[in-house]
Structure formats: structure tokens, C-alpha cells
Amino acid sequence: MEPIKQHKGLVYPLDRENVDTDQIIPKQFLKRIERQGFGQFLFYNWRFYDDGTPREDFSLNDSKYDGASILVGGENFGCGSSREHAPWAIQDYGFRVVIAPSFADIFYNNCFKNGILPIQLPKTVVDQLMEKASKEKYEVEVDLERQVIFDGSDIEVFFDIQSYHKEMLLNGWDEIAVTLTYEDKIDQYEKQNKGVKTLGIS
């Protein structure tokens, strides 16, 4: 996984609440067995007419947002299905940071596994970012080390993130490799069988 420390980029505002993962990546694209190449299908049903031509009424198709790498969304971003195809599509399209007043749990977790930094900020700040970005080309900078996001003029806010998640992104860790350093603990747990007698399938 590609680490992320600092990131400066163009903001794309998506002013909708409860954006579910069915919208982020519709089911017709879940049949693929690869992990790459989902960016072209991001927000597909919002972005394209049935014949595949872009819809001018969907803001991501506005050339003003070409090259955007910071997505700002509404409450409960990423709700619904657990499909990791959603962060894959977001990342493959070119986004590295997603900002929202609240996230759905599974989506939030999935982001960290794919080098995407999800940032939860108070709604008032998110509204400010939305407003600025909807008016003009608007860039912000994110510093994960210091946990701040700033735009060089009037916005400079601190954000919260679990230290475990922060380390993972800063170092671009392979989480499985980390866990395997605890393999003896897992062996031990299985031997002790602390839980209710949980039976295997055989």
C-alpha cells in the first residue's frame, strides 16, 4: 500500500447525505475479480446516461473538478453494502482523501486498507469546504503527521484519527504481515480455547 503523509489537492464537493456504496460503485461492476480499474465506474449511474454519455447535471463531470483528489461528502458517507469496490473505485479515480461529517463504519475501515485517508470533521467545517469548492477551483493541504488540514487562508483545523490507523497510512503497512508477528499469540489462544466451545466445521 502506498503510504500517505502529506497531500495537497483539488477539492470535489458532493453535497449529498447518505451516499451509499451502491451509488459509489453500482452492482453491475462487482462481477470483476480484479482489484484495479474500478475508477471508470465511480458513481456510474449518477455520472452517465444509459448509453454511456456523461450527464451534464452531475457535478463530477464539470471540468472544474478535473484532477480532484480530495472528496468532500455529506453525513453517513459510504453507508450500505460492505463492498470494498467502493474505496477501490474512489482511489482508482484519483482520490486520496475523503472528508465528511460522518462515515459508515465498514467504509471508513475499508479506506485505511487502500491508502485512502478518511477525515471526519464537524459539519460546519465541511459546509465551509463545500461552499468554497463549489464556487471555484479550491485546493487544500492535509498533513497526516500533524493531523491538520489547511487551505492557506482562513481554514486550519485539527482532525482526529486513531493512532493505529495513522501509523498504518504513514507507513503503508501490510496489515497481515503485522498481524503475523503475533502468530504465537493466536496459536496460544487456539490452544486455550477461551471462548464458549466454538466448534469447527469438520
Partner: protein, 470 residues
């Protein structure tokens, strides 16, 4: 006596493999369920790093999302076919048990887990599927995970997880006649919204919950994720134990009695504290119908589509939903015509769901212009329903009787609602395009779906003078 604990705390404490300041806990996973859509990239990841499946004996796979429910072995879509073949090859290579498309155990992953007795109280259960919350009905801690986590569990049989907050939803009183578990969970989400459960594990308690059958409990826990909660559960009791007795992967005889005692001891203790408690009165709940594009956008069947102008918040969202759904503000729910009816999905495709729908359908006729589908949740549900003649009741009335799978719940196979058309569905998500691009979904109980099929529009199922629900 020691500090009273909730069931969530008890299960959690029993599964912590490693604990360390500033880190989530490393949590042991007892059962890992797999399906064809969210697993290929996980197996590929294992292959690329030369890793094995740590515990194939705690892993079980099935095919459900893509499978055709008619002409079982004719999979026209080459990409779907490839995905199913990939699962088959992966299970073979890594030694994972698979109920493939022609296997007698095949079915929707959240239907077969309980049916086979793989789902048991006190287990930690994960699956690359958000409706894994269903298994919480047994007093298991069950939640959906992403594909990277699927790979992590395959390789390590564990996950890094932060201790969740607990939310008690207390349902006092009893559900009325014709009011179902589906109406209960829709009413809860309708009242509190689609995100109140975020960051919590929900425990459903109270008289109405105690009175639910296991299948009804699964319907309730299934939709916890629609409230934002990764997991929702119900403390085990005699109903749980009775259901599990005799299931294939559950011990027999004395060993069963022993384990049953352990299960019952998991129930939340009297006086245990929750981070939050909400309550709702079952007696006040009426049959529900969703009018919008998320499950909280629902009203009683006697109600009307809201007027965005009178809404307190998210007016734009409401307006957009009404437009997408092709409805008018203030339109009465009963005036909405339906063109499709889907009885199925991991929410409502079990034997009791089909029985209750059949009670309504018996002797009736599907309304002209309505296409109605019944898709049993598993092969074994299908067989059991056929053994008691339910298929004949549906077919005689003009329903299509299909093979088991997810089908029109997410329309990944050929069971699709065409653009602009309307479906009364017993599934769990009415998101835009869920049942087909441009399709309009109204979530209801199996009884309400059956009645809508007969009448061609929504009706209050309570007008059918028979005993349903409860």
C-alpha cells in the same frame, strides 16, 4: 457477584487474542463465511504473498449473489460465470468447503449459516457482506467486513477491532395482528434514522423481541446495518436453543445440553449497562412501506408520501427521493401501483416468511400487469416449502417460483426491475438503482408484498381476516 455485563462484553472478552495500549484489540474469529463477490481479490492476495488459509475448518463458502434462479446452469453473463468459477477454484486450492450452485446446502449465505447450525451463540462471525448482522439473532457477534479484511481473516483467523459501544433497543409490548418483524425494524429505522447505530452494536431487548421466533429475530438483526450498526444481536434464550437442536453442525445429546447451558449464560446480565438505550412500543407499530431511497424513509401503510416543504431537515434529499421514486408529495401510500413483487432476500426468504405470504395468496390471483417472484433463501427452504405445497399455492396464483439466491434483492443476475418500474420488495435496501438501474423499490413485509401482488397496489394487510405475524 461480579459486575453485570452485556452479552457483547462477554463475547468480546472471550475473544481477545492480544491487547495493547493505543491499539485496537486483536479479536479471534470463530466462523468466516464467504461468497463469490467479495472474495476473489482476497484469495488472489493470499496467493500473491504465498499465504495459506489458517483455518479452513472455520471457513465456509457458498454462491448466492450471481446465481441464476431459473435455468440453473445457464449462466449467460460470462463475467458472472467467471466469478463463480473463481470461487470454485479458490475453494479447491485452499481447502475451503463450498456449497456450489448445485449443492443441497446452497443458498444465501445468511440463510444457510443458521440453517446448518454453523451460526451459534457466542461465536464471532464475519463475512464480506454487510448483512452478516443477521447472525446476531442467535446471540453471536456477527459483522460485515471488506475484502482486505476477508484476506486478513483467511490468513490469520483474527481482526484488529476496537471495542464497540453498546446500544440497547428496548421494544415493549407486543406486535399487533398482521404486524411483522419487518415492520418492527422498519419502524425503528423510520423513527431513529439510518445512522443512529454507527459505532455501536445494537442489542434488541424487551417483551416483543422475546416473543419473536428465530426467523423473525433474523429479520430484525439483518437490518441493523441499515441503521448504521455493523452488528445487532439478541441474547440467547429457550427459543434459540430449541431452534439449534438437531442442526447439522451442532453437537448432539449430552454435549448439546452442555453447550446450551453455556449459550444461555451469555445473555446480558440483569443491570448490565449500555452506552445508550432507546425504546419503542410494539403496540403502536403498523405495517410499514418505504416511499423513498433509504430504509428510514418509511411510513405506515395508511400514511402518505411526505411533503418536502414541511420537512425539518434534508429537504433536498427528500425532494430528490420523491422525484426518483416518481411519486407526488402527499400521495397516499395505498394509491401507489406496483408492477413487480419480490418475495425473497436474506431479510425475508425463510420458510416462515413464505408460509405467511402463502396464507395471503391462497386462492387469490396475481393482479393483471404485475410480475411476482418468490425466491426461497436456500435450497433447503425451497425443498421444505415444496414438501408442504407452498409452491403450488404461489404458482396457481400466478407467481413465479424460483431457485435459491439473492436474485432481485440486488439484481446481479437476470432478475432485474426495468428502469422507472416499481417493485414491492421484501428485501432490505431501497437505494437508487438497487434492483436495476432506475428501478423504484418499496420495502415491505412478505405479507404486505403478497397482498400488493394480488391487488396491484399497496393495501393494509390487516384487512385480510386471517392470523398473520405475531
Amino acid at each position: 457477584m461480579s459486575q453485570p455485563k452485556t452479552i457483547v462484553e462477554k463475547i468480546w472478552d472471550q475473544h481477545v487474542v492480544h491487547e495493547e495500549e493505543g491499539k485496537p484489540n486483536l479479536l479471534y474469529i470463530d466462523l468466516h463465511l464467504i461468497h463469490e463477490v467479495t472474495s476473489p481479490q482476497a484469495f488472489e492476495g493470499l496467493r500473491m504473498s504465498g499465504r495459506k488459509v489458517r483455518r479452513p475448518d472455520r471457513t465456509f463458502a457458498t454462491m448466492d449473489h450471481n446465481v441464476p434462479t431459473i435455468h440453473r446452469n445457464v449462466i449467460k453473463d460470462a463475467v458472472s460465470k467467471k466469478q463463480m468459477e473463481t470461487l470454485e477454484a479458490n475453494c479447491e486450492e485452499f481447502g475451503v468447503r463450498l456449497a456450489d450452485i448445485n449443492h443441497p446446502d446452497q443458498g444465501i449465505v445468511h440463510v444457510i449459516g443458521p440453517e446448518l447450525g454453523l451460526t451459534q451463540p457466542g461465536k464471532t462471525i464475519v463475512c464480506g457482506d454487510s448483512h452478516t448482522s443477521t447472525h446476531g439473532a442467535f446471540g453471536a457477534l456477527a459483522f460485515g467486513i471488506g475484502t482486505s479484511e476477508v484476506e486478513h481473516v483467511l490468513a490469520t483467523q483474527s481482526l484488529w477491532q476496537s471495542r464497540p459501544k453498546t446500544l440497547q433497543i428496548k421494544v415493549d409490548g407486543l406486535l399487533g395482528t398482521g404486524v411483522t418483524a419487518k415492520d418492527l425494524i422498519l419502524a425503528i429505522i423510520g423513527k431513529y434514522g439510518v445512522r443512529f447505530g454507527t459505532g455501536y452494536v445494537i442489542e434488541y431487548t424487551g417483551e416483543a423481541v422475546r416473543n419473536l421466533s428465530m426467523e423473525e429475530r433474523m429479520t430484525v438483526c439483518n437490518m441493523s446495518i441499515e441503521a448504521g450498526a455493523r452488528a445487532g444481536l439478541i441474547s440467547p434464550d429457550a427459543t434459540t436453543v430449541d431452534y439449534l437442536k438437531g442442526k447439522r453442525y451442532v453437537p448432539e445429546g449430552e454435549a448439546f445440553d452442555e453447550v446450551a447451558e453455556e449459550w444461555l449464560a451469555l445473555a446480558s446480565d440483569e443491570g448490565a449497562e449500555y452506552d445508550q438505550t432507546l425504546s419503542i412500543h410494539a403496540d403502536e407499530i403498523e405495517p410499514q412501506v418505504t416511499w423513498g431511497t433509504n430504509p428510514a424513509q418509511c411510513v405506515p401503510v395508511g400514511g402518505r408520501v411526505p411533503d418536502p416543504k414541511e420537512a425539518d431537515n434534508d429537504r433536498d434529499g427528500i425532494e430528490r427521493a420523491i422525484e426518483y421514486m416518481g411519486l407526488e408529495p402527499n400521495q397516499s401510500i395505498e394509491s401507489i401501483p406496483v408492477e413487480h413483487v419480490f418475495i425473497g432476500s436474506c431479510t425475508n426468504s425463510r420458510l416462515s416468511d413464505l408460509r405467511k405470504a402463502a396464507e395471503i395468496v391462497r386462492g387469490g390471483r396475481v393482479h393483471e400487469g404485475v410480475r411476482a417472484l418468490v425466491v426461497p433463501g436456500s435450497k433447503s427452504v425451497k425443498d421444505a416449502a415444496e414438501a408442504e405445497g407452498l409452491d403450488t399455492i404461489f404458482i396457481t396464483a400466478g407467481f413465479e417460483w424460483r431457485e435459491a439466491g439473492c436474485s432481485m434483492c440486488l439484481a446481479m443476475n437476470d432478475d432485474i426491475v426495468p428502469p422507472g418500474e416499481r417493485c414491492a420488495s421484501t428485501s432490505n435496501r431501497n437505494f437508487e438503482g438497487r434492483q436495476g438501474n432506475g428501478a423504484r423499490t418499496h420495502l415491505v413485509s412478505p405479507e404486505m408484498a403478497a397482498a400488493a401482488a394480488l391487488e396491484g397496489h399497496f393495501v393494509d394487510v390487516r384487512k385480510y381476516a386471517i392470523t398473520v405475524g405475531g
